[in-house]
C-alpha cells in the first residue's frame, strides 16, 4: 500500500502493508534509525515518537492508522526550543550510560514538559514510567527534566 506520511515536516512516500508498525517504516524504509527498537510490545518506550505532539510507541502504531497525523522523531526534536533545552540539560549532567533508550526518554520528557511546564516528582515518575533504562540512569533523568523545566533541585544536582 502506498502511503504519504508527514514526518519531521516533510512528506515521505512509502509502499508497505497497512499493519506495518511505524517503527519499522522509520528504521528500515526511511533510514531514520534514531527511533529505537527495544521490545516490539509497547513495554519499553525506546521507540517513542510524537504524533501530533503526543508521545506514542511507534512499535504499536500501524502505518495504516496514521493518516494525516504529524509525526516527529528524535532527529527533529532539537529544532524545537523545548527539545533543544532537554538535549542541553541531558548533556549538562550527562544522563546516559549506554544511551540506547535516551531518544525515547527525550521524546517522552518533551511531551511531558509541553503539557506540564513544572512537573512534580510524581508527575515525572508517571510520565516517564513507560520508558525503561536498563543502565538505571533514572536519578539523572529526573534531574535533567527539572533542569530543562527550570526547577530547583530539592537535594542538589546529581554529580
Amino acid at each position: 500500500m502506498p502511503y504519504r506520511l508527514d514526518i519531521n515536516g516533510t512528506i515521505r512516500k512509502v509502499d508497505v502493508p497497512p499493519d506495518m508498525p511505524l517503527l519499522w517504516v522509520l528504521r528500515d524504509e526511511l533510514g531514520l534509525v534514531g527511533t529505537k527498537f527495544g521490545c516490539g510490545k509497547g513495554l519499553c518506550g525506546a521507540c517513542t515518537v510524537h504524533v501530533n505532539g503526543a508521545a506514542q510507541r511507534s512499535c504499536q502504531l500501524t502505518v495504516g492508522s496514521i493518516g494525516y497525523a504529524k509525526i516527529h522523531t528524535i532527529e527533529h526534536i532539537g529544532e524545537t526550543a523545548l527539545g533543544a533545552r532537554l538535549q542541553q540539560a541531558w548533556l549538562e549532567i550527562d544522563v546516559m550510560q549506554c544511551g540506547y533508550c535516551q531518544a525515547g526518554q527525550i521524546m517522552s520528557a518533551c511531551a511531558l514538559l509541553a503539557q506540564t511546564a513544572q512537573p512534580s516528582t510524581a508527575q515525572i515518575n508517571s510520565a516517564m514510567a513507560g520508558n525503561l533504562c536498563r543502565c538505571g540512569c533514572y536519578n539523572r533523568i529526573r534531574s535533567a527534566i527539572r533542569i530543562a523545566a527550570g526547577i530547583e533541585e530539592e537535594t542538589g544536582r546529581v554529580a
Binding site: 519499522w24 519499553c44 549506554c98 508517571s126 525503561l132 533514572y138 536519578n139 554529580a159
Partner: protein, 736 residues
C-alpha cells in the same frame, strides 16, 4: 611487588613507535605487554595480555586518540582517552576519539569485561600521553635552542617563560615525529594535583550525537542494499533441526531468502541450528516466522525444568557435603562443640541480561572475505569462533566495533555474530543485518545460572563466629561448573576465621549460561551476606559490627586461584564510612521502615552499602541507598563513576524487587519480554548517596563491584523491618 612496580618492570619490553602523520604531525603507537596479575581471573582473557595505545597530534593541534576497547555504556571511550590527554597536557576540546577496528596485532587485547579497563590502562595510557608530550617538548627545545627542562606545557601549548615564547603542539608535531621516543618507564608522570582532565567531570564523547538520534549503535548500521534477517531457533535449549518446510515463508511479503542452517549443535561454543529469514524489512522477516514449519528434536531438553532442578538441588543438599572446594581448620568439630549453631538455605533463580539494544550484527560475505559490524564485548573471541565454526580465518575478516546499547556480560558471547556470518555466507555479496526480537533475546540468553546454598555457622559465647560452612549446588558436568556457575573460594568470611569449609555439588543443564554483571558475586554476595546477617542477629550484634570484628587488623589476606588479595583495612574503611553516612545506628523515624547493610569485595572494588526500605501490604519500597566505595587513589571521570554506581544499585534492586526469574519447562524458557521479565522503572528509583573512600592503591574499575552488596542490604532491611528473612530471590512477600 606492587601493581605499579610490576607494570614498570615490564616497560622495557614496550614497543613505542613514532611516525609522521599523513598531512604532517606526530603519530605515536605503543604496544605494552601486561603482567598477568592485572588480568581478571573472573573474566579470563582469551588473547595474549598486551595493550596498545595510539595517539596522534596533527599539524593544526588536533589530538586524536584511538579507543581500542568496546564501548558498552561503561564510559571507557571517554575515560581511557582522558588518561592519555591529561598526561599529554592538551585541552580536552582539542581531543577527537576514533573507535579502533578489531586488530589484535595492532591493539592487543580489545575487550569489555571484568571491570578491568581502568586497572589495565591506568599507567600505560598515561605513559603514552606523557611520552608524546615529552617528544613535543623536545622538538620545541630544539627549535628554540634551549634546554627542554626550561619548558612548560598547558592546554596544548609549550611555553618558554624566560623569553616569553610559546607555540602550539601542532607547530612542532612533525618535528617531534622525527625524534626517538623516550623510554616509557622513565618518562615523568604528573602528580595527581597536576591533573587537569583526570578527576574532572567529562561528558561522554558520544553523548551529544546520541541525543540527536545519530546512527551509532550496531543496530543502526546501514549499508547500500542491506537486507534484514531473523534467526528462528528451537523452542527448547539444546534443540536440533530435523526438517524445515520453508516454502510458505519464502512466499511471504518482502522475503528474499529462507535459509536452514545446521550449526554444531552447541550454542555454548559456536552456532545453534536455525532457520534464517531474510527480507527487505525486519518486521516483514519477523512476520514470516509464523509461516515456517520446522521439526525440532528437543529430546535432549526433557526434564530440564525449574521444578526438576529444584528437586535435584534439594536432594543434593539432603545428601550432604559435595566436593570440597576449601577446608580451613576443623569446622565439623567446631560446629559440633559450638555453644550456638544456626543453619539456613538460600537460593536465587536464573536471570537474563536483557540489554536495551537487542542482539544484532551486520555482515557481508564477498569474494571469500567477511566484513562485520558488531556490538561485542569480546570481539577477538568472536573471530576465533567464526574460524572454528564456519572456517573463516581471522585474516579474512574485517571486524568493525560499534557502540553497544548495553552489555552487562551478554555481549561477551558472540553467538549472534556467528549466526549473521553463517547467513551472509549463504547469501554472498548481500549485506545482512540480523536483529533478534526481544523474545529471542530473553529466551536465548546466556543466563546468570540459578544456585542453592546450605550454610551453617557456629557462634561462641561472646558472639564470635567460630566456624562457617557453605554447601553450594550449581550446574556443571560434574567436574567443571557451567559457564559463570562457579564458586569463589575467597568469599568472606574465608580467610577471616580459622574453621571453614566450602563444598559444591553439580547437576547438568542444557541451558546456556554466562557471566552477568559482577558474575559469581551478584549471587554469592546475596546468599553469604544474608546468612551472615542471620549470624549477626544470633550473636546479638549487627552485620557491620560483625564484619568489622571479623576483619581484624589491616592486612592483606591472600586469595586462592590467582585472585586479588583482600585488604582488610580497605574493607574496614568503607564499612566505617557507610555506617557514618547512613547514620547506621539511628532507626528511621517512619513506622515500617528499617535499614539493612551488606559488604562485598569484587572486581578489586570494596563496597559497603546500606538500604533503607519500608514494607507495606507486601510491597517493598526502597527509600534511600548509601554507598561507600574504595576503588583506589583516583576517580578518573566523576560523572561516569557516579553513574556506574547508581546504575549498578538500581540493577541490583531490580533483580531483587521486580520479580526477575527465568524458568524452564523441558528446556523451554517461560518468560519472553519485559512484561514477564521486568526491569526497574523510574518510580522505584531511590535517592542514592555515594561516598568515595580514597586509598593509595591504583584505581580499579566500576562496571560491576557496586552491584552485589545492594541485594543483601535490601533483604537484610526487609528482615529488620518485618522479621521476615528473605532467603530466596526474587523477593515475594505475602500481601497481608
Amino acid at each position: 611487588m606492587s601493581h605499579e612496580a610490576r607494570v614498570a618492570a615490564l616497560d622495557r619490553r614496550t614497543v613505542l613507535k613514532a611516525s609522521l602523520l599523513a598531512g604532517g604531525g606526530l603519530a605515536l603507537d605503543a604496544l605494552i605487554p601486561l603482567p598477568a596479575k592485572v588480568l581478571d581471573t573472573e573474566t579470563a582473557s582469551p588473547v595474549p595480555a598486551a595493550l596498545s595505545a595510539f595517539v596522534s597530534v596533527a599539524a593544526d593541534g588536533t589530538v586524536t586518540i584511538v579507543s581500542k576497547n568496546p564501548e558498552i555504556g561503561q564510559g571507557v571511550k571517554t575515560s581511557l582517552s582522558m588518561m592519555v590527554a591529561d598526561e599529554l597536557d592538551c585541552d580536552w576540546s582539542q581531543v577527537r576519539i576514533a573507535q579502533a577496528e578489531v586488530d589484535e596485532k595492532r591493539y592487543g587485547e580489545q575487550s569489555a569485561g571484568g571491570s578491568t579497563a581502568t586497572p589495565k590502562n591506568w599507567l600505560p595510557m598515561r605513559q603514552t600521553g606523557a611520552a608524546a608530550r615529552a617528544m613535543l617538548v623536545q622538538a620545541a627545545a630544539l627549535r628554540w635552542q634551549v634546554d627542554a627542562r626550561e619548558l612548560t606545557t598547558a592546554k596544548g601549548r609549550i611555553f618558554h617563560r624566560a623569553t616569553g615564547r610559546s607555540l602550539g603542539y601542532g607547530e612542532v608535531a612533525s618535528a617531534a615525529a622525527r625524534l626517538t621516543p623516550p623510554d616509557l618507564s622513565t618518562v615523568p608522570l604528573k602528580e595527581p594535583a597536576q591533573f587537569t582532565i583526570i578527576g574532572h567531570p567529562v561528558v561522554g564523547i558520544d553523548s551529544a550525537r546520541i541525543l540527536k538520534g545519530e546512527p551509532i549503535f550496531g543496530v543502526d548500521t546501514r549499508l547500500p542494499g542491506l537486507l534484514y534477517a531473523v534467526y528462528e531457533v528451537a523452542p527448547a535449549h539444546g534443540g536440533r533441526l530435523v526438517k524445515a518446510d520453508i516454502e510458505s515463508a519464502k512466499l511471504s511479503l518482502g522475503v528474499k531468502h529462507v535459509v536452514p542452517i545446521i550449526g554444531n549443535g552447541d550454542a555454548n561454543t559456536g552456532l545453534a541450528d536455525g532457520v534464517a529469514i531474510v527480507a527487505s524489512n525486519w518486521w516483514l522477516a519477523n512476520q514470516a516466522r509464523s509461516r515456517l514449519r520446522v521439526d525440532w528434536d528437543v529430546s535432549a531438553a526433557k526434564d530440564h525444568s525449574s521444578s526438576v532442578y529444584r528437586a535435584k538441588a534439594d536432594a543434593a543438599i539432603a545428601a550432604g557435603a559435595g566436593t570440597e572446594l576449601r577446608l580451613d581448620g576443623d569446622p565439623a568439630a567446631k560446629l559440633a562443640s559450638a555453644p550456638k549453631r544456626i543453619s539456613a538455605r538460600y537460593d536465587y533463580p536464573f536471570i537474563a541480561h536483557a540489554p536495551m539494544e537487542p542482539q544484532n550484527c551486520t555482515a557481508r560475505y564477498r569474494d571469500g572475505r567477511l566484513e562485520v559490524w558488531a556490538p561485542s564485548q569480546l570481539p577477538q573471541q568472536g573471530l576465533a569462533t567464526l574460524h572454528k565454526t564456519l572456517g573463516i580465518a581471522p585474516d579474512a575478516v574485517t571486524l568493525h566495533l560499534t557502540r553497544a546499547g548495553g552489555g552487562f556480560g551478554r555481549r561477551l558471547m558472540n553467538d549472534y555474530m556467528v549466526q549473521v556470518a553463517a547467513i551472509a555466507k549463504a547469501v554472498p555479496g548481500v549485506p545482512i543485518q540480523l536483529v533478534w526480537s526481544r523474545e529471542d533475546d530473553i529466551r536465548r540468553d546466556y543466563f546468570r545460572p540459578g544456585g542453592w546454598h546450605r550454610f551453617e555457622a557456629g557462634i561462641g559465647t561472646n558472639g564470635e563466629l567460630i566456624a562457617f560452612t557453605d554447601h553450594f549446588v550449581t550446574f556443571g558436568d560434574g567436574k567443571t561448573p557451567a559457564r559463570a556457575a562457579g564458586f569463589n573460594p575467597a568469599m568472606p568470611p574465608a580467610g577471616l576465621i580459622q574453621h571453614l569449609k566450602y563444598s559444591q555439588s553439580m547437576m547438568p543443564t542444557v541451558v546456556t549460561t554466562g557471566p552477568l554483571r559482577a558474575p559469581g558475586s551478584n549471587a554469592l554476595c546475596f546468599a553469604s551476606q544474608g546468612f551472615l546477617d542471620e549470624v549477626a542477629v544470633a550473636a546479638g550484634t549487627d552485620l557491620p559490627r560483625l564484619m568489622l570484628a571479623l576483619l581484624g587488623e589491616p592486612r592483606e589476606v591472600p586469595a586462592p586461584d590467582d585472585r586479588p588479595a583482600f585488604d582488610t583495612g580497605r574493607a574496614r574503611g568503607v564499612i566505617e564510612k557507610v555506617m557514618q553516612t547512613s547514620s547506621w545506628t539511628q532507626k528511621p523515624a517512619q513506622p515500617g521502615r528499617a535499614k539493612g547493610f551488606a559488604f562485598y569485595f569484587s572486581h578489586r572494588g570494596y563496597f559497603a552499602e546500606v538500604v533503607e526500605a519500608g514494607v507495606s501490604g507486601g510491597e517493598v519500597t526502597v527509600h534511600r541507598v548509601w554507598v561507600a566505595a574504595d576503588v583506589g587513589s583516583q576517580i578518573v571521570n566523576p560523572l561516569g563513576a557516579d553513574n556506574q554506581v547508581r546504575g549498578a544499585v538500581i540493577d541490583g534492586l531490580a533483580q531483587a524487587l521486580t520479580g526477575q526469574a527465568i524458568e524452564f519447562i523441558d528446556g523451554v524458557v517461560q518468560q519472553s519480554n519485559f512484561d514477564d521479565f521486568p526491569l526497574a522503572r523510574i518510580p522505584m528509583t531511590p535517592e542514592i548517596e555515594i561516598a568515595w573512600v580514597k586509598s593509595d592503591k591504583p584505581p580499579t574499575g566500576l562496571g560491576e563491584p557496586a552491584l552485589p552488596p545492594v541485594i543483601p542490604a535490601l533483604t537484610n532491611a526487609v528482615f529488620a523491618a518485618t522479621g521476615t528473612r528473605i532467603r530466596s530471590l526474587p523477593i515475594r512477600l505475602a500481601s497481608t
